[in-house]
Symmetry: C2
Subunit: 121 residues, 2 copies
């Protein structure tokens, strides 16, 4: 078993595309994913997965149907399963996601943003 | 449902005791725990839980039986279930843990370090 540490900034430097989560770790059926984006994602929810968004760099607005919460560097938000949400970043943001390995980025919807085979970095 | 963001530095300012994980979030049967420590923990492993250590501030040495890995700010390490480990911090370190809610801090052992009822912050 090869147990190595992960440097998040180093892993973030390995890709530059937006809305494309890369897997940086796995534990207990969950995955640690790193993603960058700028702009507006789509409204969606996850039927069976809660999703944690931790901001590594920058900030973004998490839109929910009844409010908007701005998440800054060093902050996280947990979106419970079933809750519709849409992330929007006015400038590039770097995010660490913690969620079940089964989580599809676009949740209950499927469209151009959908990524099924995530790269491991 | 009250969905709020969590500011990690703010939560870290709410406690100062060492080796006492505080619960800052829950999702998918997993918990986000915040812990501070300085000094040497005890050798232990977890029979059924993988454990992620992410350094928010400072650094620490993760001792395994065959090597030592220094984890610095912005880095994480995943300790797979069954692997013996002992964290040591020469100066105060602030860590975020991702692990199943069932995880006991001292794993397969029980001693003065064991904390069973974690505070939520």
């Amino acid at each position: 078993m090869n147990i190595e540490k992960v440097n998040i900034a180093e892993k973030m430097s390995l890709f530059s595309d937006y809305f494309n989560p890369h897997v940086a770790g796995e534990l207990n059926g969950q995955q640690v994913k790193l993603v960058k984006f700028q702009g507006e994602f789509i409204w969606h929810h996850h039927d069976n997965e809660d999703e944690l968004f931790y901001v590594v760099k920058g900030s973004f607005d998490m839109h929910m149907r009844d409010k908007i919460v701005t998440i800054n560097q060093g902050e996280f938000i947990i979106m419970p399963r079933g809750v519709e949400h849409k992330p929007i970043a006015h400038e590039e943001v770097e995010i660490l996601l913690f969620e079940p390995a089964s989580t599809l980025n676009t949740g209950n919807t499927e469209n151009d943003f959908t990524v099924k085979d995530l790269k491991k970095i």
